[in-house]
Structures are given as structure tokens and as C-alpha cells.
């Protein structure tokens, strides 16, 4: 008898896989972007089933909010959504890619089994726990967090340099 959590997982997993396939299968990039939003939202729901509430919220804000708006903005800006804007290749390449993907998932398959039983832990994904771990100077997460700010600064400068007509 399947439990409720198992049923929830399978519903979410089915939606995630179907919308991920739609991302690749759609010819229109706007539709690909909208399918990708559905994938991001289902992955956020899966994070909630894994008791990672903060990561789920951040996933929705950053991916479904910021990154997808950026994608749609660029698609509209370059007017690539018109049919036939970019011709796809013939029949051979998708078939070879499909076969190679099958080989790839076979290579991955030994990693799917885990030794041991899951350990119980409480309040793993709350904002309080994550903040206590992230900003604790005795743990190794504070320095990478500061380096991340430099990374974002570099990204800002890089985006400005790319957008300028002449440097």
C-alpha cells in the first residue's frame, strides 16, 4: 500500500520529467521557457518534501523569478520566438544524442543505490538552521559565502562589459 508521501513524490516526479522533456522537445523557445518554469516549481515542491523549505523558497525566487524573467527578456529582445527563426538539424543527430543519453544514464545507474538507512534529523531546512550554519565562523561556510559576493560583483561587471557597444 503506497503511502501519501510516495504518491506525492510520483506525481511531482512525473510532472517534472514531462515538463523537462517539453523543454527539449518544443521548437518555440518561449514555450521551452514556460515548461522550464513548471520544472522549477515541481523541483521546489520536491525540496519541500525533503524538508528543505528555505531552499524551496529560494528556488522559486531565484530560478522561477529572476532567471526565467531574464531568459524571457532575452528571447523577446532577440525576437527568436518566430517559427523558423533557428533551423534544427536533420534526423541523425537527435537519434545519436538519444542513444548517447541512454548510455549516460546506464553509466549513472550504479550511483542510484545507497548504503545504510537514512538518518533522522529535525528542522534541517529552516531559515534558522541554515543561518546558524552559514554564518558560523567556526564552520567552513562563511568564507565561501563572502567569496560569492565577489562572484556576483564579477558577474555584474561582466554583464555591463558585454552590454557596452565599445569598451
Amino acid at each position: 500500500m503506497p503511502t501519501a508521501s510516495l504518491v506525492t513524490f510520483f506525481i511531482l516526479a512525473t510532472i517534472a520529467v514531462i515538463s523537462a522533456i517539453m523543454v527539449v522537445a518544443n521548437v518555440n523557445p518561449v514555450r521551452s521557457a514556460l515548461s522550464l518554469v513548471v520544472t522549477f516549481l515541481t523541483v521546489a515542491a520536491l525540496y519541500i518534501t525533503l524538508e528543505a523549505q528555505f531552499i524551496a523558497a529560494v528556488q522559486i525566487i531565484v530560478y522561477a523569478g529572476a532567471i526565467m524573467v531574464l531568459f524571457l527578456f532575452v528571447i523577446m529582445l532577440l525576437n527568436l520566438s518566430a517559427p523558423g527563426a533557428i533551423k534544427e538539424k536533420g534526423k541523425l543527430q537527435p537519434r545519436v544524442a538519444l542513444a548517447l543519453s541512454g548510455v549516460f544514464i546506464l553509466v549513472l545507474s550504479p550511483l542510484f543505490t545507497l548504503p545504510g538507512d537514512p538518518r533522522a534529523a529535525q528542522n534541517l531546512g529552516t531559515v534558522r538552521t541554515i543561518g546558524l550554519f552559514l554564518y558560523n565562523p567556526t564552520l567552513p561556510w562563511l568564507f565561501p559565502f563572502e567569496v560569492t559576493s565577489i562572484l556576483l560583483l564579477v558577474a555584474v561587471i561582466g554583464a555591463i562589459v558585454m552590454a557596452k557597444r565599445r569598451i
Binding site: 503511502t3 508521501s5 513524490f9 516526479a13 520529467v17 523543454v23 527539449v24 523557445p29 521551452s32 521557457a33 522550464l36 520536491l46 525540496y47 525533503l50 528543505a52 531552499i55 529560494v58 528556488q59 531565484v62 530560478y63 529572476a66 532567471i67 531574464l70 531568459f71 532575452v74 529582445l77 532577440l78 533557428i86 534544427e88 538539424k89 543527430q93 537527435p94 538519444l98 548517447l100 543519453s101 549516460f104 544514464i105 549513472l108 545507474s109 550511483l111 542510484f112 543505490t113 545507497l114 537514512p118 538518518r119 534529523a121 534541517l124 531546512g125 538552521t129 541554515i130 552559514l134 560569492t148 562572484l151 556576483l152 564579477v154 558577474a155 561582466g158 558585454m162 552590454a163 557597444r165
Partner: protein
């Protein structure tokens, strides 16, 4: 209680779909979307394994991966816009400046 290996299988499938998209598509924006899909699959693995071992470390890695993904997308889409402005196309078969 869902076994952790189910999440790993799902993440593997999502990652493979992303790889397939990178191999097949000709539109660099859709290729970027597939890269985001692969990053999401990796993040899902991190969170699932963090839950399995009862540690917060997995979620820490996801936070940094999110920051890297945001930076990568902003710079990458800037590059795409710059290429489109100079070459009037972004079909990756025609944009082959770095191919020798």
C-alpha cells in the same frame, strides 16, 4: 517515507534530459535552459543526500550553486546578446569563431 534512491533516479533522469537538450538543440538560449535543468538535477541530489545523512551541508552547496547559476546566466545571456548584435544570428552552427 520516500527512499532517497528515488530522488537520485529522478535527478539522474532530469540531468540526462538536460544533456540531451545540450546535444540536440541549435538555439543557445535553449541550451542555457538545459544547463539550468542539469544544475537543478545536481541541486536535487545535494538536498536528497543531505536529508539522507541528516546534515545541512547539502543545502549549503545548493545555496552556492544557485549563486553561481545566477551569475552564469546573466553573463551568458549578455554574451548571446553581444553575439547577436555583431553577427545578426545566434545559431550555434553559424557562430563558430572559436572553431579552428
Amino acid at each position: 517515507m520516500v527512499p532517497t534512491s528515488y530522488y537520485l533516479v529522478l535527478a539522474g533522469i532530469l540531468f540526462t534530459i538536460g544533456v540531451l537538450g545540450v546535444l540536440v538543440k541549435r538555439n543557445p538560449i535553449v541550451i542555457f535552459m538545459c544547463i539550468e535543468l542539469m544544475l537543478n538535477a545536481a541541486n536535487l541530489t545535494f538536498v536528497a543526500l543531505g536529508k539522507h545523512f541528516g546534515q545541512v551541508n547539502g543545502q549549503m552547496y545548493v545555496i552556492f550553486a544557485l549563486a553561481v547559476a545566477a551569475a552564469e546566466v546573466s553573463v551568458g545571456l549578455g554574451i548571446i546578446v553581444a553575439i547577436f548584435r555583431s553577427k545578426e544570428t545566434i545559431n550555434i552552427d553559424e557562430v563558430n569563431l572559436m572553431k579552428f
